[in-house]
Amino acid sequence: MTVPAPYSGAKQRVVLAEADIDRALTRIAHEILEANRGTSDLVLLGIPRRGFPLAQRLARKIADVDPGVDPDSITGQLDVTMYRDDLRRNPTRSPLATQLPASGIDDKVVVLVDDVLYSGRTIRSALDALVDLGRPRIVRLAVLVDRGHRELPIRADHVGKNLPTSSSERVRVHLREVDAAGAAGPGGAGDEVVIEGGA
Amino acid sequence: MTTNSTRYLIRGASLGGGEPADLLIVDGIIAAVGSDAARDAGSSAHSIDAEGLIALPGMVDLHTHLREPGREDAETVETGSRAAALGGFTAIHAMANSSPVADTAGVVEQVYSLGRASGWVEVRPVGAVTVGLAGQRMAELGAMAESRANVRVFSDDGVCVSDPVLMRRALEYVKAFDGVIAQHAQEPRLTEGAQMNEGEVSAVLGLTGWPAVAEESIIARDVLLAQHVDSRLHVCHVSTAGSVDILRWAKARGIRVTAEVTPHHLLLTEDLVRSYNPVYKVNPPLRTATDVQALREALADGTIDVIGTDHAPHPSEHKECEWAQAAMGMTGLETALSVVQHAMIETGLMDWEGFARATSGSPARIGRLKSQGRPLGKGEPANVVLVDPAARWTVEPDKMATKGRNSPFAGTVLPGRVTTTFYRGHPTVLNGALNSPLPTDPEEPAWNI
């Protein structure tokens, strides 16, 4: 008798393990601080679902460096559902909450945070959503993984890892805060980035 | 004498659902039954193989809306009687709510003449009880009775004769010529704006209710009136279990009341209204499953005497609209036999003999039709229908002979099919299709062959 392995049928490999992710986020946090010359006017807006916990983690790492910063007060969530250009091509999605820090985003340096940068369309939606919410001084983009295949003139300012992929592959990011244990990848319940499928 | 001198030999039909036998039809009369038939047929007789078919007396409908004169876009005497022939009928009663209303000798004679000219079935006009169906003054019932149309059934169907004094007088008056008042039992004040049966479903759908009591209270009143003046009362389209109880009580007391049920009330329930599809809008409305069961039992035990189709064709724009705006009514001539077979015979509640009684013998007796509703015996008028009880067919309103497309059975599969209809010895329907009408004989009144 054989026990079928999870993800049976799909080729998969772990490209970032928990420690790799943590190291990448630490580096990005430092890059953000460096680019911003400190924490002033800094706002981290995560794009649901996985961008938000990444933004929270980055904020904590920034607070580790600058203890004067309350990580919650510089973190927010930016839902882009209603701004997507593919609403009519997919089953209906429910929008999620947009929560901005109390200080708002006007004249701030907003760092958009997402897990995977791919076509760039999500970021395009995020930029539109941002315009409806206020007028930041600067908008930057931080992503855990850039897998290429851009369809719009968009690039990330801070990248955890550049990951060459074929477009038939799927990049799955598992994060403790979002992904239930049962949905975790081959590495177990922790954080990881996995590439699945491909020719 | 009719102009028809052709001979037909029907071979091996089960007579009224009983043993197979041959029937010989000559000159509009059943000339021989059984082994004599083949012997007497001679070589010139048209032979019809009726093995597996049931021979029934031609069906008689006490309740048909032919719409002519006035709404020829909905139906004409011609199209309605074609539909009737296809449905196995050899006589139909044309309801009085035409435009103008059939409340004078002139209008009933017009309808009668149109029926004679069509020649598919015997068309017997029903006379209105009150002028213009307005419920105010009695129409000239005597003139209609004595007209060429020889009216015996009077009804304001579509509206109720609600004035108790007027109803009493009408019941009394028609005794003079052995007429009958066919009452559309609907208390008008209790049914103002009514859209469907009042109960759980109307509560949910927000449609104004048509309570059972509005029918039952009129029937209770009318059977007592009929008893009081010792006259004949016929109750149209009985639809509730409570009405059945009242009729049973009245008949037990010897009151001269007869009652009718429509095929659709034997099968359909108010739950269909949940679709808001006006094809299910009818008056009286579709009721509950309990009512349907009570009606079936009442028809089986004779409390309800007859099937009346209440065939009510409407132009499509009167049904392709909101429920409240839609006209009430369903077509029924071409589905009646199948629906009754499905609801009564295949459920074991009734046999074909009972079917013949409810669709032919009893309605002919109530309408005083001398040459209809007779047994299939030697010397009787040859109003004969052959039915294939094993056939199954899908109801397609677009293919019907009636102009009405408002059949609630559209798309459903029903049992039983009329293959042949003989009207006064002439095959109006052969092989399930219209053949030809009876050649007109202007000299002879149809009711007096």
Binding site: L87, R89, S94 | E200, A203, G206, E317, Q325
Partner: protein, 344 residues
């Protein structure tokens, strides 16, 4: 969900999704720029066969906030056959490529008829049909109640139901589309409903509804309700012998000053008073009750736009219903298929 015709079609999952999306829409309503591009290029037709400026404006605001094009079609009964006009009007709208038709109609079932007729391919939203239903009114009532319930129970609004809540619906139940939609929706959300009114204004068959029925308003208030929803008494009922006089109606079934005071005496500090509007002040509700801090009347109006945005968004965004059904294999429950498979 292809159409929104009746709250009885909505599962708990559907309902919670609608209310949760409405929460996000409400947040948009508090921004400076109250507009989302989600329905850009879509056409919403407000087809009103009955005057209702309030409902029409609310739907119009909802559609416009989602960037849909809005066409207002006041199709009050034409002189020819009204049936013809519904079909013809529908086909006109179809020819104009309407994506959604918001219909208000005096005939019960007219939206269902439009949705099932094949005359039109657009999504149909029932904005009140005769004495049948008014689903978006019930959704905004549920939304208002849920926010209130969340506040007094100290739970977040999103995702929660109305389990344990006791609600009175008072007045002309027989002719009320608001009452019908609320009974189905609020019980789906777990609330306990009691209908209160004169027996003449309760439908025959109400016994089969999932709620209690009382004739006496004071007995009903004694059950310590969390919310009292007063229904509007339509003028045409007042002279139709459903009750002896408007004064007697008001005394027995109006929420007057004495009953308002009784709530305080009973210590029912968190009990709210609702009314779908427009109100007959002094008849079914006193001015003091309508204007008291317990009154949710204005919150209901405000929330109307949010729930209508949610409904239009869920009906119109996403892949077309027809192609989706082909893919779904038909095994999913009638209305749940679209709304539950969101996590794509």
């Amino acid at each position: 969900m292809k159409h929104l015709l009746s709250t009885s079609d909505l599962s708990l999952v559907d309902t919670l999704q609608l209310l949760d999306v409405a929460e996000e829409m409400a947040a948009v309503g508090e921004r400076e720029i109250k507009k989302l591009p989600a329905l850009r290029g879509r056409t919403v037709v407000n087809l009103f066969f009955e005057d209702s400026t309030r409902t029409r404006i609310s739907f119009e605001a909802a559609a416009k906030r989602l960037s849909a094009d809005v066409i207002n079609f006041a199709a009050k009964g034409s002189s020819v056959s009204k049936g013809e006009s519904l079909k013809d009007t529908a086909q006109t709208l179809e020819a104009m490529s309407a994506d959604a038709v918001v219909i208000r109609h005096p005939a019960s079932g007219a939206p269902a008829r439009l949705a099932a007729s094949g005359w039109i391919d657009a999504a149909v939203v029932n904005a009140g049909d005769g004495t049948h239903e008014h689903p978006t009114q019930a959704l905004l009532d549920a939304f208002t109640l849920r926010r209130h319930w969340a506040r007094i129970t100290g739970t977040p609004s999103a995702g929660t139901d109305l389990g344990g809540m006791r609600i009175l619906i008072v007045g002309d139940i027989l002719h009320s589309r608001v009452a019908r939609s609320n009974v189905w929706l609020l019980t789906t959300l777990g609330a306990h409903i009691t209908l209160v009114g004169p027996p003449t204004l309760l439908p025959v068959g109400v016994g089969s509804w999932p709620c209690e029925v009382l004739y006496n308003l004071d007995d009903a208030v004694a059950t310590r309700p969390d919310a009292v929803m007063m229904l509007r008494l339509q003028a045409e009922r007042m002279n139709a012998a459903f009750f002896p006089s408007t004064r007697e109606y008001s005394r027995n079934w109006g929420f007057d000053d004495a009953r308002l005071a009784l709530l305080d005496v009973m210590g029912l500090d968190d009990t709210v008073i609702m009314h779908p509007g427009p109100m007959n002040r002094g008849l079914e509700i006193s001015s003091a009750a309508a204007d008291s801090p317990r009154s949710t009347v204005l919150a209901q109006v405000r929330n109307g736009v949010s729930v209508r945005m949610a409904a239009l968004y869920l009906l119109l965004s996403g892949r077309g219903h027809h192609e989706e059904n082909r893919g779904a294999g038909g095994a999913l429950p009638r209305t749940a298929n679209r709304m539950t498979q969101e996590q794509a």
